[in-house]
Amino acid sequence: MHNPVSDTAFSAQQTILDNLPVAIIVVDKHASIQYSNPQAAALFSELSPEQINLTQLSSAFTEQDFLKAISSLNKKPAQIFASPFEKTLSFDRCQLPGLYHLKMVTTLENKKSQNNCLYLITLNHVNNDPSEISNEPRKYTLLKKNFKELKQFSRLNAMREISSSMADQLNQPLTAILSYTQAMQRLYQSNASLEEISVAMDRVVINAEHAGQVIRDIRAQLDANSLSCQNASINQLIQESTHLTELDNPASQINLITNFEPLNTTLCVGTIQFKQVILSLLNNAIDAVTDGSIETPEITLSTQINGPYYEITIEDNGLGIPPEIQDNLFNPFMTTKENGIGIGLSMCHHIIELHKGSITIDSEPKGTKVTICLPIKNH
C-alpha cells in the first residue's frame, strides 16, 4: 500500500480509512496513487482497465489518468478474490463532491461474494506546484476535508444495507402471519375446530413477537455505539437467543448440545446487542449445518470461565469457511451467503469490541468454531 505520509495525524486517519467499508484511493494530478485502502486493493486487484466504465468520471480528471492509476494498483497481488468470476465496474456520481459510487457487477449469477456493494473513490487533486510535491501535510489536509464526508457516506451506506436486511428479516414473519390469519378466516367460516384455529393463533403471536424482535435488534444495531449495559446472566441471554432460531423448533433436525458454566455468572453487557451477536452467530451455524450435505447436523454451545475471561463458544460441524476468505470474515459486506449482505459478522465484531472483548473464528477443514472472550471485570 502506498503510504508516503508518515506523520502521526495521518496514520491515525489512515487506520480509520483502512477500515471503512468503502474503497478509497487518493490520487494526485499525475495519476499516481498517494494512498489506497485494502478495500480498494481488493476491488481492483483482478480488474483490467477495460472492465471499468469511466463515462461518469469527473472532467477534471481524465479517463487516461484514471486508467493509469488503476493499472498501477493492479500490479499488486490479488488480495481477496482469487476466484474465477469476472467483475465489471461502473461509476455513478455521488451527491457528495469528489466522491463516486462504484457499482460492481459480478458475472456469476447467484454467487455474489460481495453483494452489489457500493464502493467509492476520492479523487484528490494535489496541486502540481513543484514546491508542494514534497509538502506532505498538504495531502493529509485534503484527506481530512473529505474524511467527514466519507464517514457520513459509509454510515449512510450501512443504513441502506441494514434497512434492506430489515425488510428481508421482516418478510418471513409477515408472510407467516398473513397466511395464518387468512387461513383462520377461512377455517372460521367453514366452522373448523377451535383447536386448529387456536394453534394458528399461537403461531401468529410468536411470529408477531419475532417481527418485533427484528425491529428491536435493528434499532439496537443502529445505535450500537451507545451501549446501555446491565448485569445479566450470559447463559440466560444465550438461551433467549436460541429461542429465536430454528433450533427452538421441535421438528428441527439439528442436534443442539449445550455446556453452560454452572455458576450462571452475570456480566454487565448490552443485552440487546449481545443477543444480536449470539443470534447472528447461531444463524450462521444453522446455515452451515443445513446445507443438506451434513448427515448429523450438530451445534455445540458452551460457556466457561477461563481466568479473567468469560468464554463463549459456538461450534458447528458444517462445511467450514473457505480458506481464501478466512482473513476477511469481519469485513463489512463480506458474505458467502446467497442472500447475505455481509453485515452480521462485522456487526458482531463491533459489538464485542464495544464490550472490550474479542471474537475469533477457527475453521478447520470441517466445522466452524467461534469463540467470544469477554473480560469478567471492568465492564
Binding site: L174, Y180, E196, T290
Partner: protein, 210 residues
C-alpha cells in the same frame, strides 16, 4: 411429510419452503380450501422423493439453503416433470421472476402475498397440471401402442404417415403391395386408428426417436 393414508393419485399441492412457519401457514391455508397438501423443508428433500406420476402443482420458495428454488425448477425441467410451478420469494427480484416465468413457472409471487392471489394461482396451476397429465397419458398410450409394433410394421407405419402410397412403399422396400397392405392393416389395428388421419395424429404424439 406425506400422509400415507391419503391416496397418492389424488392431486396434491406440494410446498417447498425452508421457513417452518411459512410452510405450516401455507399448509393450513391450502387445506382450508380443500386441497391435499404436502410440505418439504428443502428442494433436495422434495427432489429425492419426486414421483412423475403424482398430480398437482408445486409452490416453490426461491431462496433456500442447499438447492435453490431456481435450481430445482431447472432440475425438474431437465427430467420433463409435468408439475406446474408457482414461485414465491421474499425478494422482488424482477430478473429472477422473469427467468422463472420464462422457464415455465405459472407465476412469481412476492411474499407476503394475498390468499386470494395464491389460491387463484393454485387452482390455475392444478388445472394446467391435470391437462398436462392427460396429454402425457394420451402420448404415453400412443407410444405404448407404437412400441408393440414389429420392426417391419414400424417401418411401414413411418412410410404411411409420411404420405406414401402402398405401391410406392412396396417398390421402395422391395416387397409386394399385398404384404404392405397386410402390415399396414396390422399396424392400424395395433395403433387403434380407424383411418389414415387418426394414424397421422398418433404419429405426431410419438416422441422423436430412433
Amino acid at each position: 411429510m406425506p400422509d400415507s393414508i391419503a391416496p397418492k393419485d389424488e392431486p396434491t399441492v406440494f410446498v417447498v419452503d425452508d421457513e417452518p412457519d411459512v410452510r405450516a401457514a401455507l399448509r393450513l391455508l391450502i387445506k382450508s380450501i380443500g386441497y391435499r397438501v404436502e410440505c418439504f423443508a428443502s428442494a433436495d428433500e422434495f427432489f429425492s422423493q419426486f414421483d412423475h406420476n403424482r398430480k398437482g402443482c408445486l409452490i416453490l420458495d426461491v431462496r433456500m439453503p442447499g438447492m435453490s428454488g431456481m435450481d430445482l425448477q431447472e432440475k425438474l425441467s431437465t427430467i420433463d416433470a409435468l408439475l406446474p410451478i408457482i414461485m414465491i420469494s421474499g425478494h422482488g427480484e424482477i430478473p429472477m421472476a422473469v427467468k422463472a416465468v420464462q422457464n415455465g413457472a405459472v407465476d412469481f409471487l412476492q411474499k407476503p402475498f394475498s390468499d386470494q392471489q395464491l389460491l387463484d394461482r393454485i387452482s390455475q396451476a392444478m388445472d394446467l397440471g391435470s391437462k398436462r397429465h392427460d396429454e402425457h397419458d394420451i402420448q404415453q398410450d400412443a407410444q405404448n401402442k407404437y412400441d408393440s409394433l414389429t420392426p417391419r410394421e414400424k417401418e411401414i407405419f413411418t412410410e404411411v404417415v409420411s404420405g406414401k402410397l402402398n405401391k410406392v412403399i412396396a417398390y421402395e422396400l422391395n416387397i409386394s403391395t399385398r404384404t404392405v397392405e397386410i402390415h399396414r392393416a396390422k399396424a392400424m389395428e395395433k395403433m387403434e386408428a380407424k383411418n389414415l388421419s387418426e394414424l397421422i395424429n398418433l404419429a405426431r404424439l410419438l416422441k422423436q426417436k430412433d
